[in-house]
């Protein structure tokens, strides 16, 4: 006998077929049946049906998450609060790969729906997606590659994991390929804790590989720097991850997964303009930033405040990269390199803008 499962699926405007960045502000809509990746989900398990698809604009959800989630819960309520026979068994969202805004949308929706209606919810992301740190403890997040080339594998992980949760079967991060939530589970072991600990110690003393049963979390926190005593005497520098570069993109900074940062002169420049600068960030609609790049790197306002004496002086260069699916390791490297240059010039304060 084949069991049938009913799924509600959540997608952003791009995967939901509404459009690209120009639709990123789109309010959520609920449509019947599967869309895009939802078709793959239906095909991946016999008897599974995507009843409806909730489509939301990336910016709409990421910019004002709480309010947008409430709207979406209202949209979904008739579906989850209707008669038993029609009620969905599972919510799936994404996969979002390494897309930060999309990841936030998926994580927030999974969390809200499982809390409100007590049904399982699963999404899928690349481990470096910033939404993973926000939602992994409360939401099941299947692990994916960093971009859409891993779609088939992502679906093959996300869907069965969801069905396991529906059937209340036990899951493990290593076996079911989801990102560890940090939960502890009681299991029976053949040896006592003392025996296992001693074996581990011996392995360690002999330089052999061993696996801790309780890996320590890694916290990389930087202590807040002391405040600047007086900005009227301080030297300020501008840095952005919003992809603002001189027109023509002289350093060929990539629109996503940037492999470099650029250093650009602003000495004697009072403001950026659509003739002089542009954005090369591939993760948001460039229309506003290209129309007036000060909307991302506010040089005009900074110069105004400098001329009034509110800022001591401005460093002669600004630094830019594209923070769009850029790896943490690259961002660390750029930050370190930029810091070195700024220190050498006696900079005390930095304004870093992100989109």
């Amino acid at each position: 006998m084949s069991t049938s499962y009913k799924v509600v699926h959540c997608l952003n405007q791009f995967f939901g077929g509404l459009g690209g960045e120009e639709q990123a502000g789109a309010a959520p809509t609920l449509v019947q049946g599967p869309k895009g990746p939802g078709l793959l989900i239906e095909n991946s398990v016999p008897g599974l049906r995507v009843m409806s698809t909730l489509i939301f604009g990336d910016n709409y959800l990421a910019e004002n998450t709480e309010k947008a989630v409430q709207e979406i819960l209202n949209l979904l309520a008739p579906c989850f609060e209707g008669d038993d026979a029609g009620r969905p068994d599972l919510l799936l969202a994404g996969p979002a790969f390494n897309a930060g805004r999309y990841g936030i949308g998926c994580g927030a929706l999974c969390q809200a729906v499982q809390e409100r209606w007590g049904i399982p919810a699963v999404t899928a992301m690349f481990p470096e997606n910033p939404a993973v740190a926000l939602y992994r403890k409360t939401v099941f997040i299947a692990e994916t590659s960093d971009d859409v080339r891993g779609m088939a594998e992502a679906i093959q992980r996300m869907t069965p994991l969801g069905l396991k949760l529906v059937r209340r079967e036990s899951c493990l991060p290593e076996e079911d390929h989801y990102i560890a939530q940090g939960r502890r589970k009681n299991v029976r072991a053949a040896k006592t804790g003392a025996q296992r600990a001693l074996e581990m110690l011996v392995q360690r003393l002999q330089g052999e590989p061993f696996e801790s049963e309780y890996p320590m979390p890694v916290f990389d926190r930087v202590r807040p720097a002391p405040p600047v005593a007086d900005m009227r005497r301080a030297r300020l520098a501008l840095v952005t991850s919003g992809g603002i570069v001189p027109r023509g993109n002289p350093d060929k900074i990539e629109a996503a997964n940037a492999q470099r940062f650029g250093s650009y002169p602003i000495k004697n420049l009072q403001r950026l303009s659509s003739q002089s600068h542009q954005t090369v960030h591939g993760g948001y609609d460039p229309t506003c930033a290209n129309g007036d790049p000060n909307r991302v790197l506010p040089l005009d306002a900074v110069r105004e405040l400098e001329s009034e004496g509110a800022i001591g002086s401005l460093h002669d260069w600004y630094y830019a990269t594209v923070g769009n699916a850029t790896s943490v390791e690259s961002a660390q490297r750029y930050g370190q390199a930029i810091a070195k240059i700024l220190l050498a010039d006696g900079v005390q304060a930095v304004l870093l803008t992100s989109t």
Binding site: T287, R295, S354
Partner: protein, 76 residues
């Protein structure tokens, strides 16, 4: 990048549109901005009003740089 600049000893303010990301990554002085495609502006406003809005955000960032904090702080 924010963290590495702060680690090197400079005081840094992160002006960004998605505050939860900055909090998760470890920004300490955070100023929320207008919107993802136009953090320091609003194309719906007339030119002078938009400029005034941008200026007020920069002023808020300067204040954040001058404010002593004990941990992560969002300057609303």
């Amino acid at each position: 990048m924010v963290k590495e600049i702060e680690r090197a000893g400079m005081t840094v303010v992160h002006a960004c549109s998605i505050v939860p990301i900055s909090l998760t990554v470890g920004g300490n002085r955070i100023v929320p901005t207008i919107a993802i495609p136009h953090p320091f502006g609003d194309p719906h406003l007339a030119g002078p009003e938009e400029k005034a809005l941008r200026r007020s955000l920069v002023e808020k960032a300067l204040q954040a740089l001058e404010t002593p904090i004990g941990g992560q702080t969002v300057f609303e």
